[in-house]
Symmetry: C2
Subunit: 380 residues, 2 copies
């Protein structure tokens, strides 16, 4: 195996596949990064067996040559050292060569690295996904779907299914839903006609996979092709394949959690609410719950407050756009509320309460595609 490659392109690809590589894996060869030189370009692979990422650097694209002098072959290199080496090489091009004894030489300018490689034949074969269940999403939309839901997955393993995001097809809409049983985040988007052939109805994608995917996807990329099988999901962009296992088990039915009626509705400015709650929670930082109180006042005023007996207390007064319905006193986690407000893609927010003991709903004022739900805390 041998090739000469542009360092910057190699660096980008290495950083992408590194997101799948963990130093704490039970399969030793997976601590390595697989390099495959083909006549049409270079393919890098990283995997921790839950997530596998392939990144391809074409020999030539749009008239720009990225790889030259290709002699096909493949090798696995220790992922611990390779990214730093590539980043710090002195020249814009890098020559990488592997011999029959699995010795790898990396040359750039006056710099020459000799590394011990591993046999690429010992690297696990990634499953080829054969599926008709494919559809496309614009990259920025997929990133939003992830950002507006994934923070609400459970971080404890007591109910493993809740550590994933439920991706669900229903009435020609695609739903992303996450809940840790104290709060719920969801986003739905209409799907094009072309997707009516899809066979899957509901899968659960590990939250960790979506977080890593979100880091790799660049807004400038046009679209992502998503393919689903029984136990795996593939996200494919022009040069990247991102493969994740799916979580086993049935995701709980969440629609019954969402109250259909409300007793108090608060309309407000998203940023003002967010900043007031942030300040109100400052003194409660260390207490596990980080609870703040919200109280409606006369003349569309809201009071948000918290009390930490040893330190002091905070009272925030702010004006709502309007308040409809009954007076309200309610307590909730400041962190959950801030997470939810950050996911609201709008300057104005609508919060619907059904009494101090019932879950409440946060939505953008002008659409119902985003829904955030929080269970209150009993303090009154």
């Amino acid at each position: 195996m041998k090739f000469v490659i542009q360092r910057d392109q190699l660096m980008d690809s290495v950083q992408n596949v590194m997101k799948a590589i963990s130093s704490r894996t039970t399969i030793p060869i997976l601590t390595g990064l697989k390099i495959e030189a083909r006549h049409d370009g270079i393919k890098l692979t990283g995997s921790d067996s839950d997530i596998s990422i392939e990144s391809f650097i074409p020999k030539e694209e749009d008239g720009i040559v990225y790889v030259e002098q290709i002699e096909p072959g493949s090798i696995v290199l220790q992922a611990k050292y390779f990214p730093d080496i590539v980043r710090k090489l002195p020249q814009k091009t890098v020559e990488i060569e592997a011999d029959d004894q699995l010795k790898v030489t990396i040359r750039s300018g006056g710099s020459e690295f000799h590394l011990n490689g591993q046999d690429a034949d010992e690297y696990p074969q990634l499953p080829e996904l054969h599926t008709e269940d494919s559809f496309e999403l614009p990259t920025d939309l997929l990133k939003n779907l992830i950002k507006q839901t994934v923070f609400a997955v459970s971080t404890v393993e007591t109910r493993p299914i809740l550590t994933g995001v439920n991706m669900k097809l229903e009435d020609n809409h695609l739903n992303f839903i996450a809940t840790d049983s104290h709060r719920l985040a969801s986003r739905r988007i209409p799907l094009e006609k072309q997707t009516q052939h899809l066979n899957f109805s509901s899968v659960v994608i590990p939250g960790k996979s979506l977080n890593e995917l979100n880091k790799i996807l660049e807004d400038k990329q046009d679209s992502v092709e998503i393919s689903v099988t029984e136990n795996q999901i593939l996200f494919r962009t022009k040069h990247i394949n991102f493969l994740s296992r799916l979580l086993d088990g049935n995701y709980p039915e969440t629609s019954r959690l969402i109250p259909e009626q409300s007793k108090t509705i608060v309309y407000g400015t998203t940023k003002e609410l967010l900043q007031s709650i942030d300040r109100a929670s400052l003194l409660a930082k260390e207490s596990r719950n980080n609870v703040v109180r919200l109280q409606t006042k006369e003349k569309d005023q809201i009071e948000i407050s918290s009390n930490s007996p040893e330190v002091g207390n905070v009272v925030e007064e702010l004006s709502a756009k309007s308040i409809e319905g009954e007076d309200l006193k309610i307590s909730f986690s400041a962190k959950y509320m801030m997470d939810a407000l950050k996911a609201i893609d709008n300057e104005q927010v609508k919060i619907e309460f059904t009494g101090a003991m019932r879950p409440f709903i946060i939505r953008p004022i002008d659409n119902d595609q985003i829904l955030q739900l929080i269970l209150p805390v009993r303090t009154y």
Copy 2:
């Protein structure tokens, strides 16, 4: 106590005094931040008893009003919460008020914090420094003196005196010297006539104090006045007093460590050398010593190399400007060499060797104010 203050000015001052405040102090009130309202402005104080920092915000300066409605008084506030509160307040001005029960109210816009304060009378009195031993240095020069030496102080407490930087007056020059007994960093500058009255000849300033001072000093400030007493040193800028204790004991005489003759002299480009050594050390990262080898070659070439049997090896070839004297093979800590090269304030560097077992010297090519010395490692 009461005053209304510009939030940005208050924030800057709070961040400065916070550098002296530690949550792990044996004197509980020192976890607090002292606020003193005087007719001419507001003084903040933080201290961990090794370092004390006072920052002053004048009532008015250059026609700009920073503080209004001052009612003199003082209070001590929990430093843990105060910086975040100030940073996140909604308006540009902040009102701070303390009552007789040590209750403090912080108001800004619709935001109101009530904090429990502590009696300022219980806060330790900072020593007033009475000394004639004062001199001034330009701020950027003092920052350079610190940056070019402080990294070489010892981080282990076996010889506490080596955890400090030796500041020494000699032949109308000011010397900063640091050594951990494996390497030495020094910088000397000529002093003006006006400083010939100074009585101190040698003091040792804790490395930690200088690191914190360096963070606080801004290049835009004109100059720093330095005052020395037997066991304390005061750095004074327009609005900041930075007081540090000095280390007890005699600093070792270091001049005899510096070889007076050399057998091999290498002239090279600082950045090229730095980057080559950085790469050569990549594979040796985890070994405690992180040793690289340097070898002179024909035609003014240098080879820098390292070998980590399990991972591989690196060979870096680079051209020196010129090499004078004997051929040389020498091994040394890559980290020490990189620290030293970063302290060289010049594109070109001169390295003087006296054989593979003797300390060697790194200097800028055109001046002898900066001297870095490193003890080699025996491997050949």
